[in-house]
């Protein structure tokens, strides 16, 4: 039996030999948020006492659940660079942390074919420790032995390019320096799956160029790269496939041009135009049947496969 058809019309299948590196199946992630009970709309007349009393009677006192990722499924293959787009708070980071094995999914399953390394702006290094101490911790957490860390220490420091700051506490680093150090640590070992969470946004031009080279290297070594970026340009440059997260759901999965297009219809400059067009299609569909609707679609989306 051959490998199933490409999921979501990602990078074109050359033959049936594509090897999956990440399988995400029906994953839900719910967070518990403490100390912020959901309050019903309060009318002015309700006194403080009443409010105090009613607070206690609410279900889950002081605990709220945030449904960050809702039933997301996809399969990623080796050699793919997958961009994740979506607005702030759409569940991108949470999903990727889960893929990296750092945040357990509430339900659903994730399988990995190899080792995942995540680097992100939020990746917490120990603020009070020096860059060098953090390299020890980070590199060993990625599975390096002390001997290997010692051997690669100079490379990591050189790539991070933070000079004498390496022996100062991280709390004295600028955002860009911390981001470079994180990137250097995470790519010290070539992971099978590299997850880059907006880390490149903070670096300067020179660093971004070198980081891009390193991402390319990793992909050439048959790895899979996930990339969260807000710049459409970078996504188009680097990625072979794009996932679109929206309010915790996966709304799009496919070639960058296609998914970016779909994204643009909801959030872009011409969103009103598209809204009207979609309504028009709905109307035509019910009044004149599917054939007429398809005709309209062909007119508005000449590149679509209708």
């Amino acid at each position: 039996m051959a490998v199933p058809e490409a999921i979501g019309g990602a990078a074109p299948t050359i033959d049936g030999e594509r090897i999956p590196s990440v399988i995400v199946s029906h994953v839900d992630i719910r967070y518990r948020i403490y100390g912020s009970p959901k309050r019903p709309e309060e009318s002015e007349e309700e006194g403080a006492v009443r409010r105090l009393l009613s607070r206690g009677s609410q279900a889950g006192l002081g605990v709220q659940e945030v449904h960050a990722v809702k039933d997301v499924s996809f399969v990623a293959y080796r050699g793919e660079t997958i961009g994740i787009i979506g607005r702030n708070g759409s569940g991108k980071s949470t999903l990727l942390r889960s893929v990296a094995g750092l945040v357990p999914p509430s339900s659903g399953t994730i399988w990995l074919g190899g080792r995942a390394a995540l680097l992100g702006v939020n990746a917490v290094l120990q603020k009070k420790l020096s860059g060098r101490d953090n390299i020890w911790i980070g590199a060993q957490a990625l599975g390096l032995t002390p001997a290997q860390v010692r051997r690669r220490m100079d490379d990591i420091i050189e790539f991070a390019d933070i000079g004498d700051f390496i022996d100062l506490p991280m709390s004295s680093y600028s955002t860009g320096m911390a981001a470079r150090l994180r990137f250097a640590i995470s790519t010290a070992v070539v992971p099978d799956i590299l997850i880059v969470d907006e880390a490149l946004a903070t670096g300067d031009e020179h660093f971004r160029a070198r980081a891009t080279e390193r991402i390319e290297e990793i992909r050439e070594q048959a790895g899979t790269v996930f990339l969260v970026a807000h710049s459409r340009k970078r996504i188009n440059q680097l990625c072979t496939r794009v996932l679109w997260m929206d309010g915790g759901r996966l709304l799009g999965d496919g070639r960058p041009s296609v998914v970016n297009g779909l994204y643009g219809r909801k959030y872009g400059r011409h969103r009103q135009v598209w809204k009207e067009r979609y309504e028009e299609i709905e109307r035509v569909m019910t009044e004149q049947g599917p054939e007429a609707a398809r005709e309209l679609l062909r007119r508005w989306e000449p590149e679509g496969n209708w």
Partner: protein, 304 residues
Amino acid sequence: MSSDLGPEPHHQPPVLPYAEAEELARRHGMTQVAVRPSLGSYIKEIWLYRHLMWSLAKGEVVSQHRDNYLGILWSVINPILLGVAYYLIFGQLLGLSRDVDNFVAFLTVGLFTFSFISATLTSGARSLLGNVGMMRSLAFPRVLLPVVKVISEFVNNIPAFLVLVVIALITEEPVTWEWLLFPVALLIVVVMGLGIAMLISRAVHNVRDLANIVPLITRLLRYVSGVFFSIQVRFANIDDAPRWVGLVLEYQPVAVSLTLVRETLLEGFELRWETWAVAAGWAVLLFVAGFVVFWRGEGTYGRA
């Protein structure tokens, strides 16, 4: 608000049914993320990450002492000042120093050992929730977090333990072969501390409100465990108390740990096999129970 938005795509991305996804993963020998490993492979994994454990512990110690001028000296100054206060209040004011021969050494051994145990409780309770950020950035067996806390607390307390030896010498305790058992006794206490930290960290992770009770528990333990009085002597003074209450008080893990350490350094406390058997028993029991309990929660840590 949403009326301002454009349309969503007509088609949802295609989804592989769960059974097919599972089959695909199986065929390619992929491993499932965030599942609890078997006990054996969990232990193996911890062994692989042992170097990380030392780095984390070192980092913990360093960052605790970085922010002040005297640094690690505080881990000597603090317990000594506390010892002086306890000596004045409980020894002199309340007259508890009549209980035992060498009250100064009795008190400091009890106090310093207890400080370590209570530190394992408090920092063990925080070990998971205080490191959510780290858990969301690095993958490693989470049991390292409470373990690292205990190790670093022990390292922090080493100067205090050395001070104990000095105090024993100053207060003219005779130096005997039994002193060689001092580190062994401390080791038993550390094993117990590891068990306590693993248990409390999972408990607090599951029900974080428990963190509010931890200070209360340590306070209570401080008062019932014979830190500044002899349980035996005090209990003998109460006429109608049932005997088992005294035994429970004397042989509960914390009290027996203090006795254990006292027996190695103080002449007034002879080595008794009961103390050592019970203390070792508690240590093994708490450690094994703590490890198994923590392991059973692996794969859930980090979502809270």
